[in-house]
Amino acid sequence: MNIGVFVCHCGSNIAGTVDTEAVAKAALEYREVVFATDAMYACSEPGQAGIVEAIGTYALDGVVVASCTPRMHEATFRRTLERAGLNRYMFEMANIREHVSWVGKDKAANTRKAAELVHMAVEKLRRNERLQAGEFDIAKRVMVIGGGVAGIQAALDCADGGLEVVLVEREPSIGGKMSKLDKTFPTVDCSSCILGPKMVDVAQHPNITLYALSEVDSVDGFVGNFNVTVRRKAAYVDWDACTGCGECAAKCPSKKTPDRFNEFIGLTTAINIPFPQAIPKKASINANACIKLTKGKCGACAKVCPTGAIRFDQKDELVTEKVGAIIAATGYDLFDFTKYGEYGGGRYPDVITAMQYERLLSASGPTEGHIRRPSDGAEPRDIVFIQCVGSRDKSIGRPYCTGFCCMYTAKQTILTKDHMPDSQSYVFYMDIRSPGKNYDEFTRRAMEEYGAKYIRGRVSAIQPKNGRYLVKGADTLLGRQVEIEADLVVLAVGAEAARGAGELAEKLRISYDPYGFFLEGHPKLKPVETNTAGVYLAGSCQGPKDIPSSVAQGGAAAAKALSLLSKDKLASDPQVSGVKLARCIGCGKCESVCPFGAIEMIEFRGMPKASIIETVCQGCGVCTAACPQGAAQLRHFTDNQILAEVNALCL
């Protein structure tokens, strides 16, 4: 074999602390190396041209580039080899930047280490095989998990692009957090007026199958061929028969059921349609509140239902969907406001969350848009808003800024003034974060035109006083303490990862951060991809986001899925496991350890043998480690290749 070695300077990134010329000179001494040189930027246009030229001039049939991490440019250089007519797997990369120049200062030692890494790469390359990628069929379908505004956008864009879409929503209706909002910043658009049409589009789109009141149970398979099992939870109503007329809810005697959709500040019935614009507009029964399901008597809804849709014996149902790509859009949950004892959330009835306040503002909410104190139904006059409740607080494990609370608080002060011109809003804040188009102008308007009094400081305690609340805080700009008597206190609760986000991430085999938000493939360059092929992210499941960012990500994730599934077949990675039948003793250890179900036991001349399903194998190498005979070998990373590398380093 004729091997060429190219040692990259990476400007001063490598050459600053590695003598690249000396490394190239050392490489000429390694077996089968016929050409070695150093290059300013091997990945640049002239750098690649140099490699192509050397392949022709020296009749190279293998190339080693000593430069950065293969995560960065392995694909680049493999394409370079293909342009020069070589097989893309006759290439090895020695990482002398992340592993050498960036971590060591001693130039002589660095140079020695770089040369040794090149030696290892050469020894491995000498044993490389010319591998060919295969092809496999894919399902041109997408599953979107989560029907908030990000998931809705992703589903609609995929469906408009011609893909079949399965949209899975945990709640009885899609719409997510946005459907609970009264108005949106900075335009003060009616939230359900702009979201509603999109929700209807989902219901009517011929390419979208909607599973509401459903959760992902398990995920098998791999990019292009996922099998997702969805648990359709019992609604105790046959949704094919239900027309959404609402007769059942009108007659239901269990009228004191806690209302999830209204953030528990109102009451609803055990059987209900969560809100007027719900999609699907179907009734479902809250089993914990239903008299029939808890005590066995009643059945009023079944008596009045004009289509006989009530099914008290309905059970959860599992359905399996085959999809080529998955978009996770599971959103966020709100911080538990009872965690700050000093604010009295959960103990004082008129200390409420910002989302509860949205429901009070909303015309479809429990007070029909009239702002009323939960305790006595009186109209409040002085309202204190406290920002950063569960944001930017290390002591409770929430060091991050939620990013949209400053804006929704400003919006709520504006709406408060609109609803009640004699009211006065006070906002305790630390910093105002309003970096978006027309965002800062909007917060200024709250102060300048709507008279919201912004106080720069925190609140230390809230104490009941004569039916009102004494809010004790600081004004750090004045250097004084401040006390305000309020009728209502609204806590700007921050966002946290959605309930069950970690479990879903594990089913999808994607990573998540310490707070439960899903990890993107790259913080800048792969914001909607994950490190698992075929799984994409949209919206707040990746980190707290406002509506425009969530919609943008929904569209971006859809574009990624459309691009992936625009092909009829996907290329399979040939770096997969293979079994040498002569060595295999048919013990089945590999089959039991394979995390992908990629190994099946076959009979060969009357003997049991293991066989790899190449399109399912992900090349993890677990079977190689488990095989007692060395029969299972991972192509491109065989035992012999790894031992050759070790020998190059140690002998």
Binding site: E342, K394, R456, R458, A474
Partner: protein, 183 residues
């Protein structure tokens, strides 16, 4: 030390940091400490301003402030701090530094502390009457809290005689070791 009040002393922040074992860069000036402080009404600087003076290296203003001596060490600031800074401990460190630098602004508070410690060194515990006499002698405040004396006497809280503890030498050893360390 810088002569002009607007000249900062960057080393000061590090000194307070070492002495209090608290990372002052963690403070983002939210004001939670000030919001909860029960004695803030009497302060010349609020708690978050004291923290800011330290962050900004304003040694003279921080050490000569009245606030650090009026602090009741109730630790509400420490409890409320979202960044888990032990603010009360920073206040304590500032008092030690102010004493060493002879910048105690509340002479009476300083005098009380000194009288208290003298009494502990002498008797191994506080001898209240002696403490009162020493404090009055140092400050000239003869009648501070005298109205409380009859009730305290009746309840046996004010012994007329000093009672030394048994192993008083060990208590004195603590004081000796402290003085050695200061040299």
């Amino acid at each position: 030390m810088p002569s002009h009040p607007n000249v900062i002393d960057p080393a000061f922040t590090g000194e307070v940091q070492r002495e209090s074992e608290q990372n002052l860069a963690l403070c983002y000036q939210c004001g939670n400490c000030t919001a909860g402080c029960p004695v803030s009404f009497a302060y010349d600087y609020t708690v978050n301003q004291i923290m800011r003076l330290v962050q900004a290296g304003r040694k003279r203003e921080a050490l000569s402030s009245h606030a650090i001596w009026l602090c009741a060490s109730c630790e509400t600031c420490t409890t409320r701090c979202p960044n888990d800074i032990d603010v009360a401990r920073v206040m304590d460190a500032l008092r030690h530094m102010a004493r060493r630098e002879d910048m105690v602004s509340e002479k009476a508070v300083g005098a009380f502390w000194k009288s208290f410690l003298d009494s502990v060194e002498k008797h191994g515990r506080v001898y209240e009457l002696g403490l009162m006499a020493a404090y009055a002698g140092r400050t000239g405040r003869m009648f501070t809290d005298v109205d409380l004396a009859p009730m305290a006497l009746r309840k046996g809280k004010l012994g007329l005689k000093a009672h030394d503890i048994e192993k008083i030498a060990e208590i004195r050893g603590i004081f000796d070791r402290y003085r050695e360390q200061q040299q």
